[in-house]
């Protein structure tokens, strides 16, 4: 008694309706949101920056392709997440970095940050930041040698250090400008907010222009691509904490204003594009607040009292590590259950 009458009918269970957004589309939004900041990076740092972005993307995508099972590969490639990781990593690198390091970084990002965890969605640490942490730990000098932002005329100028042979050091000829955060920490010099805003300061490729990063972030917020609680919590905590420190230690120029805290270094880039990475941030709303507060607190703590001028990278990684715990202890109260 097989039912042969309606062979065409599927028996897919409800719900049959799906909202329009898909995961690859969400990734596309992030690409779009990163466009202005990337364009600014090219404007300020020229062809060298472009080469770095390309190599780090290549490193990431190639690693994903090599280490993913054949049947999973098509998927893994179609969601463009590996390329996105590569781009994000590239944006956190200094413009004078030897290209082979950028490639290595992209490769480590995906290899250590994604593939061994089981691919998209399973990783607990932000892959791009893991790659950057690896590079920073491995090549501390190359990763902290910054070039000054150039103008449009310098577009075709490539730093000689970019082209160092694999495994060899770059020659950092003219490169030795301090980032605004470095100036603040070691020289007690403040950089004008307008420069931070527009981006003609030294720093990582993608983190210089606060304005364009804000554009990208607001775009993502409007597209509902990112959880708004995380940026809100980070901004609130970071500015309140640095304001408190400023008020307590007022006389010392070592303590920056809240605006400087927000607009300098990788805080904006990290907040909008890395801390909000859904895979590695908590699921629950309360968890997102805690996560953001943790990042805001750690970043200011490391910047003011730590050994490094910038702490966004480690703040996010550390909170990534705590995310499973946060998630576990912030489960929402179930409807109709008291506790």
């Amino acid at each position: 008694m097989m039912n042969n009458k309606d062979p065409k009918l599927l028996l897919q269970s409800a719900p049959l309706l799906r909202q329009e957004l898909t995961t690859p589309a969400a990734m596309k939004d992030v690409w779009i949101a990163l466009l202005p900041a990337t364009a600014a990076a090219l404007w300020f740092f020229g062809l060298g920056a472009l080469l770095i972005l390309i190599t780090s993307i290549a490193g990431a995508v190639l690693t994903e392709w090599v280490f993913t099972d054949k049947d999973k590969r098509r998927f893994a490639m179609s969601d463009t997440s590996a390329g996105l990781t590569g781009l994000l990593l590239g944006l956190t690198l200094p413009p004078g970095l030897p290209l082979w390091m950028a490639f290595l970084g992209g490769s480590v990002s995906i290899g250590l940050g994604k593939v061994i965890w089981g691919g998209l969605g399973s990783n607990l640490f932000n892959p791009a930041l893991l790659g950057r942490a690896f590079l920073l730990g491995t090549f501390p000098i190359a990763m902290t040698t910054w070039g000054a932002a150039g103008g449009p005329g310098d577009f075709f100028q490539i730093h000689s250090s970019n082209l160092a042979w694999p495994f060899m050091q770059g020659q950092y000829d003219a490169l030795s400008t301090a980032t605004p955060l470095g100036l603040m920490k070691f020289e007690h010099e403040t950089t004008a907010l307008s420069s931070l805003f527009l981006g003609n300061t030294a720093g990582s490729i993608g983190e210089t222009s606060s304005l364009l990063l804000l554009f990208g972030g607001v775009f993502l917020l409007f597209r509902r691509g990112i959880e708004w609680r995380i940026p809100a919590a980070i901004f609130l905590t970071a500015s309140l904490f640095s304001l408190a420190m400023l008020l307590i230690n007022g006389a010392d120029s070592n303590y920056p204003s809240p605006l400087f805290t927000l607009f300098s270094g990788g805080l904006l880039l990290g907040t909008f594009f890395m801390a909000t990475d859904p895979v590695t941030s908590p699921l629950t709303p309360k968890g997102c607040w805690i996560f953001g507060i943790g990042i805001g607190f750690l970043v200011v703590l490391i910047r003011l009292y730590g050994g490094l001028p910038e702490g966004m990278l480690y703040a996010i990684l550390l909170m990534n590590a705590a995310t499973p715990l946060i998630d576990r202890y912030t489960q929402p109260k179930i409807f109709g259950r008291k506790s």
């Binding site: 501390p140 000098i141 030795s176 070691f186 020289e187 050994g307």
Partner: protein
């Protein structure tokens, strides 16, 4: 039945509960033998180890105090410096260096404090006549290889301490921005470690400078066995 039989048989053969005396005796024997071995090796290596340590210390002191041929250890007790010969070191000890004519030259002062990674131990030579630091040696540190470890690998940096006035606190400034006599160039990329060294030296100096005797009344070199 057979099972029970086997069990009783087995227990009668194997598990004789050893008396507690036997346990104590075997422990004691083992302890005794181990004690003998340990004491033997200790005696055997004692001299060499002592010499190694003394040599290491002497070398360090000689390094930070140029032109020194003799040294002795001074202990600050009851508000005065007393010459000590015993083994061991602690924070209340410094070293006095003397030239071949047994004339006092300067002090080697040790200090420690937090560095980038872990505690840094510093020894520096101090000429009280000129109020100058004349040498610096890192005794122990776990600073980052390639970066922080330049505080003892970068000879330019170490060299800065070879003739440095310390009447005012030393300051580490960014490379090339040195304007004052008491300033030194920090190592690029290892500012924290450089500053840590400077801070440790300042702290140790400020602790010791009021303790040092008036110029001219430095402790005299006492006769030492192995010098």
């Amino acid at each position: 039945m057979t099972d029970k039989h086997d069990k009783t048989k087995a227990s009668s053969i194997v598990t004789q509960e050893p008396s507690s005396t036997r346990l104590i005796v075997s422990m004691a024997v083992a302890g005794f033998i181990s004690g003998i071995i340990i004491i033997a090796i200790y005696m055997l290596t004692f001299e060499t180890i002592k010499e190694n340590k003394a040599r290491e210390l002497r070398e360090a002191v000689f390094k930070v105090l140029p032109d020194v041929s003799f040294m002795q250890k001074l202990h600050f007790i009851d508000n005065k410096l007393i010459v000590v010969k015993a083994e061991g070191m602690d924070d209340e000890m410094i070293f006095a260096g003397y030239d071949p004519q047994r004339k006092f030259i300067g002090y080697a002062i040790q200090g420690k404090g937090p560095g980038f990674q872990d505690t840094i131990h510093v020894l520096f030579g101090y000429l009280s006549s000129k109020q100058n630091v004349v040498g610096m040696e890192i005794l122990d540190s776990r600073e980052t290889p390639g970066l922080g470890d330049k505080i003892f690998k970068d000879m330019d940096f170490v060299g800065e301490f070879s003739n440095l006035p310390i009447s005012k606190d030393i300051k580490a400034v960014k490379k090339g921005k040195k304007t004052q006599e008491n300033e030194i160039d920090a190592i690029t990329g290892a500012t924290i470690s450089s500053k840590a060294v400077v801070r440790i030296i300042n702290k140790a100096f400020n602790k010791w400078s009021p303790r040092l005797p008036q110029q001219g009344s430095e402790p005299v070199l006492e006769k030492q066995d192995n010098q």
